[in-house]
């Protein structure tokens, strides 16, 4: 073994149009280690990894593998260099079998028949060596995500990867699955493979990595030995200043229940039960936070309450009235506002001008219409007022929404949903990818809403955000509400509950 780093990046730079995703990145990953990379959403982690894997091309910069400069023209070159990658969004063909997916691109000859036998044998070997069991003849679409990810890892190993990149592998895994994954990664490392692991989750970084690098807004801001750093330091590095964990707020003054959820069961698009027999209340003047690892049913729960997804069974009551038909428009009329998790695909139409988004969903409201027509004058005036009140920049309602930055886009959504004076507000990931200034602003607005007697249901994967805003915390795990806590419950306790270990 040499001392040469397994992979070294020098001055990598990448722009997507106006977005500067990677700015002059330098990075060195030692051979036989697990190297973590953390950073907020949109920090540029996936972009950087995709450049190493030859999926994107850097505008400038150099890549060295084992000390030798390499040109990675495409993924084939990356594979040939011994680099494998498990993408954040799986790159699998759903209606192919595991075996076909693994063979794709490494078929071993013009005819499939020839390669199949050796592929099966090789799979067997990998299975026993690393504990990567999976039925080679199963169809991908019939496998749970955990196993799909295993197929992705197998794909990389099958191609003889020496350097394995995993882009947010645990986002979709249950804690048990994540643990299993980590055990596999350790085995791989001990056999001399190099692993780059991307995640937002500081705990995971502390648990498994040897070294960790932090990215912020396209820049590589620091690299630390894991043993020599702390969660707090990493968090600070990630967001660029000391994290404000506590929001100023007074005592809650809860009134009657506004939202009641009774025995709710919801399935996702694939028909998997994501919310399983869940019941709770949200009262006027309180914030109920739902904590949980992403993918434990929170999204589906919010969508069901917001009327976007039809529940399979159970009941949702607003002000004691049963909502029998999923219809977001009617729910809005009844005073239910919804700040969605995904502003790009749900909360906003990026191609529309700002003022159009400022009434999306409320466009049928009498204040914004004259008969069948939209009252453009009223809408633009209203949009301008919101822009001023929420300090949305640039202050131009005729600008295309895509041209606002993430934080300002989120403010457009927040302003729209709060300003129509709802009774009930459901919020998903209010500050994802939003800068600190905007976070504070949005948090303050949420508290003001509570103090004005609104009922608020909040979902966030950021435990700190949940703890600082909520009056009560429900923890979701695998589709169940596994317990209720007050915000002063320790991080440890909540963490264990989120992992499904304690209740």
């Amino acid at each position: 073994m040499t001392d040469k780093p397994a992979i070294e990046l020098v001055g990598i730079d990448k722009k997507f149009g106006a977005v500067h995703a990677n700015k002059d990145i330098n990075l060195s990953v030692a051979k036989g280690t697990i190297h973590g990379i953390i950073g907020e959403n949109g920090a540029g982690k996936s972009t950087l990894m995709s450049i190493i894997y030859g999926f994107y091309h850097a505008d400038s910069g150099e890549i060295l593998v084992n000390g030798n400069p390499v040109t990675i023209r495409d993924s084939q070159a990356a594979i040939a260099t011994g680099i494998g990658m498990v993408h954040q969004h799986f790159m699998l063909v759903d209606n192919f079998t595991v075996l076909e997916n693994i063979m794709l691109g490494a078929e071993g000859g013009m005819l499939l028949a020839r390669g199949v036998a050796s592929a099966r044998a090789e799979l067997k070997r990998l299975e026993t060596e690393y504990g990567l069991e999976v039925d080679p003849d199963a169809l991908i679409e019939e496998l749970p995500v955990g196993l799909q990810q295993r197929v992705e890892i197998l794909k990389a190993m099958y191609r003889g990867a020496e350097i394995l990149i995993l882009d947010e592998p645990t986002g979709v895994l249950t804690p048990a699955e994540a643990d299993h994954l980590f055990r596999i990664l350790k085995v791989l490392r001990d056999q001399g493979k190099t692993i780059i692991l991307i995640t937002h989750k500081l705990r995971e970084i502390m648990a498994i990595t040897d070294t960790v690098s932090v990215m912020r807004r396209g820049e590589m801001v620091a690299t630390r030995k894991t043993a020599e750093t702390t969660v707090e330091e990493l968090a600070e590095l990630m967001v660029g200043r000391r994290v404000l964990l506590r929001v100023q707020k007074g005592e809650a003054n809860p009134g009657a229940a506004v939202l009641s959820v009774r025995n709710l069961t919801v399935k996702d698009n694939r028909g998997v039960t994501m919310v399983d027999n869940v019941s709770f209340d949200v009262r006027a003047g309180e914030i109920v936070g739902i904590a949980g690892v992403a993918g434990n049913g929170q999204s589906e729960l919010l969508e069901a309450i917001a009327g976007i997804r039809k529940p399979t069974s159970g009941e949702i009551l607003l002000d004691g009235q049963t909502i029998d038909k999923a219809d977001p428009a009617r729910l809005r009329d009844l005073g239910l506002a919804h700040i969605p998790e995904d502003r790009h695909h749900m909360g906003l139409v990026l191609k529309f001008e700002e003022y159009e988004n400022s009434v999306l969903g409320y466009h049928r409201h009498p204040a914004y219409s004259k008969g069948p027509l939209l009252d453009l004058e009223a809408i633009r005036k209203d949009a301008m007022e919101k822009i001023e009140r929420y300090d949305i920049r640039p202050p131009n309602p005729r600008l295309k929404t895509a041209n606002f930055s993430g934080g300002n886009q989120q403010k457009i959504v927040v302003a729209r949903e709060i300003e129509r004076d709802p009774k009930m507000l459901i919020i998903g990931q209010p500050t994802r990818g939003v800068d600190i200034g905007a976070i504070e602003f949005i948090h303050r607005r949420i508290i003001e809403m509570r103090d004005a007697g609104k009922a608020i249901l909040l979902v966030s994967v950021e435990l700190d955000e949940i703890r600082s805003l909520s009056d009560r915390i429900l923890v979701m795990f695998a589709g169940h509400v596994v317990g209720e806590k007050t915000p002063d419950a320790g991080e440890q306790t909540l963490g264990l509950m989120m992992a499904g270990i304690a209740a």
Partner: protein, 367 residues
């Protein structure tokens, strides 16, 4: 770095690029003309002369343009809702049935201005009805609207031929067509409009449906950009997920958009059926539904752009007739060649020149 997301000013996006695309299409057409041994310049001058050289030519140009405005609007309305309606051709065909039935029923009792509004409704209803099943299948069953509308073009053609041959034909006549409508079923020509400009309409069938087309264009603009329904259609068109979030009902919006699209296509029938031949004939649509695709693409799905593109295609059709009359070597199908090239370059290859233009533009801004 990719250039796809670099914003360009409107005059480039809506002016320079379409003109560039169009120019290439015409250059290649000119090459074809040259290939068959005729002079492209002569052909071009004949084209202009035939289409715009006298009142009658202009009349014909506007007559064709009228049909294309309707079908272009039809395609555009669907596109705004994210639907590719290839079925305007069939919907227009059925629209012809609607307006012919009205004309046949009323022409001997009432004057044209009574028949006309009812015929507009009849044509619209029949066109919409023909769009309904594909719309329903898309909305409720997720069947691909492109495929179903193609199928319905053929089903519509079979149905119309059956009706004309077996039901509507005048007994004893050779051609499968209805009887000629009386005065009450014919739309008056717009000779007076031409006279305002000191030109003579001659025999050109430029008629009142042109005015209907303009009014409808305005209404479509109003619908798409000024109404709640239009807002919902556009939302659905660019972001189905945002539409679901906003409580915009998918099935209802898809069906309404397609019904409107079908109705617009159907109204096209007014122009040839009541405005020109005064009877319902086989194949009277003559590809206008497909031209609508080109017109809508070129007009960037905006009524104003559609009117301009429709007139351009009107010039092509009328001028093309003239060319084929004057240059027997060039048959009228040259129009199809040009049309195909325009669709190719203004539609499928619309981004071909963009990267180069972006680079030039950036250099220009820097320099």
């Amino acid at each position: 770095m990719s250039t796809a997301s670099v914003p360009l000013p409107n005059w480039i996006n809506y002016g320079l690029i379409p003109i560039l695309n169009l120019t290439v299409a015409f250059l290649i057409s000119g090459f074809v003309v040259w290939l068959i041994g005729e002079s492209p310049l002569d052909a071009l001058s004949l084209l202009i002369q035939g289409a715009l050289g006298n009142g009658e030519g202009i009349g014909f140009t506007l007559y064709y343009a009228t049909s294309f405005i309707f079908t272009g609007l039809s395609v555009a309305v669907a596109i705004h809702a994210g639907l590719f309606n290839i079925g305007s051709e069939g919907q227009a065909y059925l629209g012809g049935l609607g307006c012919a039935l009205v004309a046949l029923a009323l022409d001997r009792y009432v004057p044209w201005y009574v028949t006309m509004p009812i015929a507009v409704i009849g044509a619209g209803l029949f066109g919409a009805a023909w769009a309904f099943i594909p719309a329903f299948l898309q909305a409720k069953r997720g069947s691909h609207i492109v495929i179903t509308t193609i199928m319905f073009n053929y089903i519509g053609a079979a149905l119309m031929v059956y009706l004309l041959v077996h039901v509507l034909i005048v007994p004893g006549k050779m051609a499968p067509e209805t009887r000629t409508f009386l005065q009450g079923g014919q739309l008056p020509k717009l000779g007076w409009v031409m006279q305002l400009f000191g030109a003579k309409l001659g025999a050109a069938p430029f008629n009142v449906s042109f005015i209907i087309a303009l009014v409808v264009s305005y209404l479509v603009w109003l619908l798409v950009w000024r109404t709640k329904l239009g807002f919902e259609m556009r939302t659905l068109g660019v972001s189905p997920t945002a539409a679901a979030y906003a409580g915009i009902p998918y099935a209802r919006t898809v069906i309404i958009a397609m019904l409107l699209s079908g109705a617009l296509a159907g109204m096209m029938a007014l122009n040839p059926v009541m405005g020109s031949s005064a009877r319902l004939q086989v194949e009277f649509v003559g590809g206008a539904g497909f031209v609508g695709i080109a017109v809508s693409l070129m007009g960037r799905n905006h009524p104003l752009g559609i009117i301009m593109a429709a007139i351009l295609f009107g010039i092509l059709y009328q001028g093309g007739d003239w060319i084929s009359f004057e240059m027997p070597n060039i048959t009228r199908e040259m129009i199809l060649v040009i049309q195909g090239l325009v669709i190719l370059f203004a539609g499928a290859l619309e981004y071909m020149f963009r990267p180069a233009i972006v680079r030039l533009y950036q250099q220009f801004k820097r320099g």
